[in-house]
């Protein structure tokens, strides 16, 4: 019997994933209404459950894609993968008011620049405090604090060791998870209410995954504005870190 279920889930991965995610969202909605009396949004709880399941999946399978590495749930990898995620993000743009986005364009760009420089500086300083002194490792670890894609891209480009690259990925993934989890709680503090504030958030909080999940758990209407800016984050990081930032770090280290 179990074999039949497993085969059915494997052959219909995406369909099974819709069912699993739907059930998780149903449970989250229930927890949100009954246990937190609506204080914590259902989607925030669903994301937390998702992360917990990812941990369990990683433990069980020993793989790198969380629950998606467990054969029964392989479709989760497709549903939550880059293709469908980006497709859904683009679709949210249908709700964007062009005027709002245009008015906040410059502040969004400014936030994006600050959101690249600031994490990089923090990453470099922390790496320095942990005893890394060479420019290559410092730059790679700084880049990891920008996003978990910028870290390995930069590290590979400037020839960092695989241990340092792994550490930069860990920093980036952890940052994304922290943004996902802490955004709903800190929304009031960050004044996340308007499209403009969401664009500032998208620029500064980095990673598409962190920003869009964080906003989804806070206010669904703000998602497209944050995503619009955040999608440029990885590109800008990959542009600046292995070039300008690396040269700057090299110049400072040499003194």
């Amino acid at each position: 019997m179990w074999e039949i279920i497993e085969k059915a889930a494997k052959d219909n991965g995406l369909v099974a994933a819709f069912a699993v995610v739907g059930l998780v969202m149903l449970a989250s909605g229930f927890i949100s209404r009954k246990l937190t009396l609506g204080r914590v949004q259902g989607s925030a709880i669903a994301i937390l459950i998702g992360l917990a399941l990812a941990w369990v999946g990683g433990k069980v399978s020993g793989g790198t894609k969380g629950l998606a590495d467990v054969a029964l749930f392989s479709g989760i990898g497709l549903l939550g993968g880059t293709m469908l995620r980006d497709f859904a993000i683009v679709a949210t743009a249908f709700e964007v008011h062009p005027g709002e986005a245009r008015r906040s364009g410059w502040i969004g760009f400014f936030a994006l620049m600050l959101g690249t420089v600031l994490p990089f500086l923090v990453g470099v300083c922390v790496a320095r405090a942990f005893g890394y002194t060479d420019a290559v490792s410092l730059t790679t670890l700084g880049a990891g604090a920008v996003t978990y894609i910028v870290g390995p891209v930069t590290g590979t480009a400037i020839g960092a060791s695989s241990e340092v690259i792994a550490l930069s990925i860990a920093t980036g993934v952890l940052k994304a998870i922290l943004v996902m989890v802490s955004t709903p709680a800190a929304a009031e503090f960050m004044r996340l209410k308007t499209p403009r504030s969401a664009m500032v958030f998208g620029g500064l909080a980095g990673t598409v995954s962190g920003v869009t999940a964080g906003l989804a758990a806070t206010d669904r209407k703000l998602v497209p504005y944050g995503a619009l800016v955040a999608t440029f984050h990885t590109g800008i990081g990959c542009l600046l870190c292995p070039s300008l930032f690396f040269i700057a770090v090299k110049a400072i280290v040499r003194q």
């Binding site: 939550g80 743009a93 249908f94 008011h97 891209v153 860990a170 993934v173 943004v179 909080a205």
Partner: protein
């Protein structure tokens, strides 16, 4: 027809990704630069253009809106496929770097957004 909406979305998506990829190549990188952002801008533009010509019927819009609404479940699936184990295995350095980064950025967001109230538009303007 509902497929018109989904096809419009797919076309904008593909065009955006191709533009982002080309931009990345032009800048000498292997990564996509803002492809999704460009796709979003394309969709915003296409919507305004079609709306102006009266070519956007509710069924067509439904083909896009469904995917916009499926967005949160997709994010939950994304959370389920994160590499949580390795993130936690990064040890104290990764944890401190991530926490300090998030705190510093959160502070900046708060400072910038608190200044918004001074602006001309009312803060509680509905979206």
């Amino acid at each position: 027809m509902i497929i018109y909406g989904t096809a419009l979305l797919a076309l904008c998506h593909m065009l955006g990704i191709i533009c982002g990829e080309s931009l990345g190549r032009a800048l000498g990188m292997k990564t996509n630069v803002g492809g999704v952002g460009i796709a979003m801008l394309l969709l915003v533009g296409m919507r305004a253009w079609l709306h102006g010509r009266g070519r956007l019927c509710p069924t067509t819009e439904g083909g896009v809106n469904y995917w916009g609404a499926i967005y949160i479940p997709v994010v939950v699936a994304m959370a389920m496929s994160q590499n949580v184990i390795s993130a936690l295995r990064g040890g104290p350095m990764a944890i401190i770097a991530a926490v300090v980064t998030v705190l510093a950025c959160g502070l900046c967001i708060s400072l910038i957004n608190r200044a918004e109230k001074v602006g001309s538009q009312p803060a509680d303007k509905p979206l």
